[in-house]
Amino acid sequence: MSEVNDKSVEKEESMLLQKQMIADHFKALSKAKENNKKVVYTFVPGNLNELIWALDMLPVHPEINALQSAMRKKSGGYILEAEKAGHSEDVCTYVKCDIGMMRRGNVGPTGDPLPEPDLLLLSYTGCFTFMKWFELLKEEYNCPVVMLHVPYQAEGKVTPQMRDYVVKQLKEVVIPKMEEISGNKLDLDRLGTFLESSGRAENDLVAVWESAKNKPSPIDAYFGGVYYIGPIFSAFRGLPEAEIYYQTLRREVEERVRLGLGPVTPDGVMKQEKYRLVVEGPPNWTSFREFWKMFYDEGAVVVGSTYTKVGGYYSEGFRHSGKYPLESLAEYCLGCYTNHNLSDRVGILEKYIKDYDADGFVINSIKSCNSFSAGQLMMLRELENRTGRAGGFIESDLVDPRYFSAANIKNRLESYFQMVEAKRGGRRAPESTL
């Protein structure tokens, strides 16, 4: 029996807003060349969006193209295309999907061809593959690359030397290159204005995350969460549109809290919150709906997730600020989730489980993404020991449909939910087993 009602889903205002924003952005991209706008390809984690806007350039995020391709069921073909061109079956499918897409005409999610990059801005943050990805794109597009090396928080902290290293690269390498390509001079005050705007939107986003402390939670912080991070992780951080979006979203969520409503799912509002979970790892995109359904059909709500922190660690207090713009950008890059060491990652999950009163946690281990996945089995055990809550472990891939076995995942999840239930039964109502 489905735990959601059958009412046809009403699109919320924030959803419509986001849709419009995306459509406008892709329109702007398709006209970039005629409007003489320079296009920067860059990655989500550690992206320098405010800087891109401050120099009047336009950003394209290849990971987002890849996941959009997956949701439109095109990634499988793209990946095969890349493998035919000599890429190994063993490596990241985001990269292969992107390369396959490019080789097949580089058509974006709205159906318009994407403009070729004028610059590849390699924000090398928390993921080794990013480096190879842009080396590969450089070969394909034959365009300049600028590398921003963001050191890893191996000791669980940002040292002044790490910050200085990033700031120096921004000042002496990244900004000069971007100025050269864009033909514009950077105005630090203008950059500051964008950063301040980012900070405001981030405040509202954090309020949305924290609403999940309510019971029932008005949001799903993973499956719903990936929509909420859309604007701030992609092209819109720093723009007034993002501020409006997050104000709207926050209002909607607060209203849901007032009405005591659960999250909105593709099948309507969830009726009963049976399990509160924390999820580690990116989602699968090729069967996103089916994957989500396996959770909401069982009454499982995700109240906290780490994937929604890959493009910014806002719930831990970081905000972009215009006061020291370059330092602020450096701090942001250094703080992205996968740039934290394993012990910190376990710590943040533990905190979510406790603060959000979760029944347990699920790790979605992604074949493509070693940055996330290597060490997750140890995180699983460590977290179980620290919290005493049940951990579930499932495996899938980002955009490779060959690595999503619905039966296998459903089997594990069901067993997991029943285990949580049985444990809870044993703890709370022993007479029910008589």
Binding site: L377, L380, R381, F393, N411, S415, Q418, M419, T433
Partner: protein
């Protein structure tokens, strides 16, 4: 009689267990899983009911002052004749189905003799069946399909020795028919079969003088009504079971509880089945506290052995005994199923002995299981090993050694009925799940549903 049913729909076999209100096992049933899940589930359940009736019959016969003296022999004859009745019923259905098909086939002139040939074959198979179903007959398969197929094949091979076209024709008819026959259950007519068996048995000189008592006890067991209060389904194919969601449990939970029932001190369970391997931790009540399953890679499951058996051109049941002959185990590096095949061939070409390679392969497979066990939280005392591979002595030996080396001394439990662990857990959940008691599974409805297919 009130009872609770657990059904485990596995990838190769479907198992059912009946338990009573005191959680005592009444009976077990097993059948081969087939394309029609509903039927597999129904057959297993009916077999379990029959098994329950025979268990009661046995109790009553042994308790009967008159019958006590001949109880063993009598029960053996009744069961054999019962099975024969059921077998013949299916054989009749198979004959009719084949002949109906042959009616069309014989329109072509060259095949006009096919119905006669089929008649001939089936008549012989009926005669042979009587011999096969004697109390002390040598072991036979539990499944009609296996027996009918091997019998039919033997006759066709003899008949169409030099005529491959005819051979193909007959086999094609048979293949179509067996599928149809398999899509129906022949287990439900207990009354009919036991009465027939009773008539056969009382005719035997040694039971002549007990005729009245035999008739009485068989009709008593026949009249007994089972009243299933709740049914729970589990297993790999549980999503395909015609049950509402409340009556389905994951096989992890069922395995945990089933193992706990069989060995109450169990804390860690390892199940190596055909399709997957599970490492399960349970608490003192048999409730699962942690589990791990193998990932996409099949290296650690039964299929790995199947693959190796194919590579070596051996039966999968021959692998364990051969590996036990090894004195010098070869180290196999590849835990990958595909690479293991290549490595195997390379080792053979280097002149390594088959038994030594096999010993290495068994160890490689158990190593995979060890890593799953470690992921799930290690091995606590007592440790229960279930699934088809638990019957493989070489695998058990390798497991014992590795457990000892890595975790110290652990009590290792292996039940001869371990194949029923999941079904048993499901039956216990059926009994314990109060909410489920409301939703009884009506097997007659299921039968109707199947019949209307």
């Amino acid at each position: 009689m009130d009872c609770y049913i657990g059904i485990d729909l596995g990838s190769t076999t479907t198992k059912a267990i009946y338990i009573d209100a005191d959680e005592k096992i009444l009976g077990r049933g097993i059948t081969n899983s087939r394309s029609n899940y509903d039927i597999a589930c129904q057959v297993a359940s009916e077999e379990a009911e029959i098994n329950s009736r025979f268990a009661l019959l046995k109790r009553w016969v042994q308790a009967d002052v008159t019958l006590k003296a001949v109880s063993e022999e009598l029960l053996a004859w009744l069961e054999a004749k019962y099975k024969l009745a059921q077998h013949l019923k299916q054989l009749t259905a198979l004959t009719e189905t084949c002949l109906a098909d042959a009616e069309e086939v014989k329109q072509a002139k060259e095949w006009s003799h096919v119905p006669k040939l089929l008649d001939q074959i089936f008549a012989q198979m009926r005669t042979e069946a009587v011999e096969i179903f004697l109390p002390n007959a040598k072991s036979r398969s539990d499944f009609f399909r296996d027996m009918a197929s091997s019998g039919f094949m033997a006759h066709v091979e003899a008949l169409a020795k030099n005529d491959s076209k005819l051979f193909d024709k007959l086999i094609a008819i048979y293949d179509r028919a067996i599928l149809k026959v398999e899509s129906r259950s022949y287990a439900s007519g207990f009354d009919e079969y036991i009465q027939w068996a009773c008539e056969e048995v009382v005719r035997l000189p040694q039971f002549k003088k007990y005729e009245a008592q035999v008739r009485e006890v068989t009709s008593r067991v026949s009249a007994l009504e089972f009243n299933p209060l709740n049914t729970i389904g589990t297993g790999y194919g549980r999503q395909r079971l015609p049950f509402p969601k409340e009556q389905i449990r994951s096989e992890i939970l069922c395995h945990g509880l089933g193992a706990h029932y069989m060995f109450p001190n169990t804390r860690t369970v390892l199940d190596i089945g055909g399709q997957d391997t599970k490492a399960i931790q349970v608490d003192a009540e048999g409730i699962v506290t942690n589990f791990q399953m193998n990932d996409r890679c099949a290296a650690g499951c039964g299929r790995y052995l199947g693959y190796i058996a194919d590579e070596m051109n051996m039966g999968v049941h021959e692998l364990g005994p051969m590996a036990m002959k090894s004195h010098k185990q070869v180290k196999i590096n590849s835990t990958c199923t595909v690479f293991a095949g290549t490595e195997l061939r390379e080792r053979l070409s280097l002149g390594e002995k088959r038994e030594d390679i096999l010993a290495g392969l068994h160890r490689a497979m158990i190593l995979r299981a060890m890593s799953l066990l470690a992921r799930s939280g290690g091995i606590d005392d007592e440790f229960t090993f279930t699934g088809g591979v638990a019957k493989n002595q070489a695998a058990v030996t390798a497991l014992k050694k590795l457990v000892e080396e890595n975790y110290g001394t652990r009590i290792l439990n292996i039940s001869p009925d371990s194949i029923y662990t999941g079904a048993l857990g499901a039956a216990l959940f059926a009994k314990r799940d109060r909410s489920g008691e409301m939703a009884k599974l009506d097997l007659s409805k299921l039968t109707k549903k199947v019949a209307s297919h």
